[in-house]
């Protein structure tokens, strides 16, 4: 997970930590206490960011959480496994969606950016078929 840990995002959390936080927030908020304490200790800048710019943090939390986070996390082992991110969920059912011509083309274009097709499909639908947001997310969170 060293590679993933090196990818910074807007709020400076590693992709692994951000995923862990998103999973707890959407699925099991009863586990927030220890996780937040841990994050505060490891990211001293968080305090300032959350106090002065809570909107950024909220949007980071909600990005892609709205839909099919489970699939994103459970499926391909994109992030490798280190503890939290790897502990993700029970096996999810096969990803089964209907795709229109337009979707097909958009996914083709995203693949050309150099991402694996199965990952592209998941991210694309998780982003509610918004190609631009999907591309953005692929680049920020999933670039190896």
């Amino acid at each position: 997970a060293a590679g993933a840990a090196g990818v910074p995002n807007q709020i400076g959390l590693t992709a692994n930590d951000l995923d862990a936080l998103r999973q707890v927030v959407s699925g099991n908020p009863e586990a927030l206490g220890p996780l937040l304490e841990n994050m505060c200790a490891r990211y001293p800048q968080l305090r300032q960011q959350i106090m002065s710019n809570p909107e950024v943090f909220v949007s980071m939390l909600l990005q892609a959480v709205g839909d099919n986070l489970g699939n994103l996390m459970g499926g391909e082992g994109v992030e490798g496994d280190d503890g939290l991110a790897g502990a993700a969920g029970e096996p999810e059912p096969a990803f089964n969606v209907e795709m229109s011509e337009e979707d097909e083309q958009a996914i083709g274009r995203l693949c050309e950016l150099g991402f694996e097709r199965s990952l592209v499909i998941q991210v694309y639908f998780a982003c509610d078929k918004n190609e631009e947001i999907a591309a953005n997310m692929l680049f920020t969170d999933y670039q190896e």
Binding site: L21, Q23, V24, V25, S26, G27, N28, P29, E30, A31, L32, G33, P34, L35, L36, E37, N38, C40, L46, R47, I50, M51, P54, E55, F57, V58, S59, L61, L62, V65, G66, D67, N68, L69, G70, N71, M73, G74, L84, A87, A88, G89, E90, E92, P93
Partner: protein, 519 residues
């Protein structure tokens, strides 16, 4: 002696200042994550599979009740039908929800003490994904929170305007005990009042109807107090209602604590992060970030209702609740630089039986903040000619003797407009010390600019243009009087580039010299 020891440790059982700040921040962090959780769950409820399948649980007869015709003769009859429909839907849900599981970790989302929060184990189990959530709701299996959330999905599947309501329970930042023992509350007491419930828009009465389908199993139209507000010491320990947030089907998000907390302004406010202006702004921004739709007529009706409830709450009947109350103030709590605006009268009395006193209570909006002429000047304002002072206070004068200082309200002042620099020489009007005072940007003459740099004065001199050293603030040194701080210069804006270039040149020269010294 044992008692003395205990008393001592009780006195010492207060956390340090750093810990206090840490708790305040953790409270905010938890709150932010919890209200985000509500938003995520709310968006899950709009899942198409959920609405397709849940819809089948509702027979046509009940569906019709949920969508009554407008009874133009007696709108109340339409409301009755809706309430009846909700009652029947609630019964359906109680039949559908076969297994209400206990919370996996014992306390669910109910409030934890700071010790519990710190000693908490990282989550070991599975994370609930959206798909498993949908499956659970369709099967009717899960804890009471999921059950309440599912009920909202059920109503939405029948095209009812239903909101998910959440009462998040971040740790209490006003609890400053160093050692906060785990709260000892029996499970049944803890879960007596729900953390998730539902609201339905009644378009006939133009109000939100509260439905708690799982915990207390009730429907209510909240007027002065809600049955969902926790009562009793045991119930309140883990369920401290402070923030109640509603999420609607258009992904709107609103703080609706006013509906559920009877004493919001007098008591609950003190435990909310919004008790000070910074916290208020911060929480407003968090809720704003989760609010993803335009304002509607329904919001207007709700705000009107909140307004009425604020009025209805009335005046507190004891001293501690009236301190820092947003609406009321005692005359004796006015600060030195505050007066009641002329002509205002007390709006009520506070009886202190113990002391046999009766204190006058005033409206906080009648309080006027006053400042001396000099204080107003440091905000870039000057007294209007002929303005009257409202109060005098004793202040230490220049020669150390007490003298009267006159205080004025903001209305007695106007914006200070500095003289512009002459053209083309750029001469600037200075004070008796040969400086110009720039405490706020409006104090810079209209055709000038402020250049802040320790080299600014030298640079302006070197260029040879007209300038005025700028006093931007005062330094207060121990024992000494206030000392003016010159942090730059004011020059006419047509000299700006020349002075900036000179500053750069001086900087370069200085760096050169330093380098040479090193070598």
């Amino acid at each position: 002696p044992k008692e003395v020891e205990e008393a001592k440790s009780a006195v010492r059982n207060v956390c340090c200042n750093d810990e206090k700040k840490h708790r305040r921040f953790m409270h905010m962090f938890q709150l932010l994550c919890l209200v985000s959780h509500g938003a995520v769950r709310n968006s899950w409820l709009n899942n198409s599979k959920l609405s397709r399948k849940l819809n089948r649980l509702v027979p046509d007869k009940v569906y019709e009740l949920l969508h009554p015709q407008k009874d133009s003769e007696m709108p109340l009859r339409s409301t009755r039908k809706l309430l009846d429909g909700l009652k029947q839907t609630m019964a359906l849900w109680q039949k559908h929800w076969k297994v209400t599981q206990r919370y996996a970790n014992g306390t669910g989302l109910y409030m934890q003490s700071w010790d519990e929060e710190k000693r908490g184990e990282p989550w070991k189990g599975n994370f609930l994904s959206k798909d498993s959530f949908v499956k659970q709701v369709l099967k009717g299996v899960g804890d009471r929170d999921v059950a309440a959330q599912g009920f909202v999905a059920l109503l939405r599947s029948c095209n009812v305007n239903a909101r998910l309501v959440m009462s998040p329970q971040p740790c209490d930042f006003t609890d400053l005990k160093e050692r906060c023992r785990p709260y000892d509350v029996p499970y049944d007491d803890m879960t007596k009042y729900p953390l998730f419930w539902c609201e339905v828009w009644d378009k006939f009465a133009k109000q939100w109807v509260t439905v708690d389908p799982v915990g207390l199993k009730l429907i209510e139209q909240v007027r002065h107090a809600s049955k969902l507000e926790p009562r009793g010491a045991a119930c309140c320990r883990r369920n401290m209602m402070r923030y109640v947030v509603a999420y609607d089907r258009q992904e709107g998000c609103r703080d609706i604590t006013r509906r559920y907390c009877q004493w919001l302004n007098a008591k609950v406010r003190r435990r909310r992060i919004t008790k000070d202006p910074q916290g208020q702004e911060w929480f407003g921004r968090v809720v704003g970030a989760l609010h993803r739709r335009k304002r509607t007529k329904i919001d207007d009706y709700e705000d009107e209702y909140f307004e009425v409830r604020n009025e209805d709450e009335g005046m507190p009947d004891n001293l501690s609740d009236i301190r820092n109350h947003p609406y009321y103030i005692l005359e004796r709590d006015l600060r030195v630089n505050q007066v009641l605006c002329p002509g205002s009268r007390e709006c009520g009395y506070l009886n202190l039986q113990k002391k046999g006193l009766q204190l006058k209570v005033y409206l906080r909006r009648d309080v006027v903040d006053l400042k001396s002429g000099r204080q107003w000047y440091s905000e870039g304002r000057v007294l209007k000619t002929g303005s009257r002072y409202l109060k005098t206070v004793q202040r230490k004068g220049r020669d150390g003797e007490m003298e009267d200082e006159r205080l004025y309200p903001r209305e007695a002042t106007e914006l200070y407009v500095p003289h512009p620099a002459t053209y083309p020489l750029g001469e600037i009007k200075k004070n008796t010390f040969g400086n110009i005072e720039v405490f706020v940007p409006s104090m810079i003459p209209a055709n000038c600019c402020l250049i802040e740099s320790p080299l600014a004065v030298r640079a302006a001199k070197a260029v040879g243009v007209q300038y005025a050293p700028a006093v931007t603030r005062f330094k207060f040194e121990r024992g000494a009087k206030a000392k003016a701080v010159v942090s730059g210069v004011v020059v006419a804006h047509w000299f700006k580039d020349a002075v900036l270039a000179a500053i750069e040149a001086l900087q370069d020269a200085e760096e050169d010299r330093e380098r040479q010294e090193l070598e």
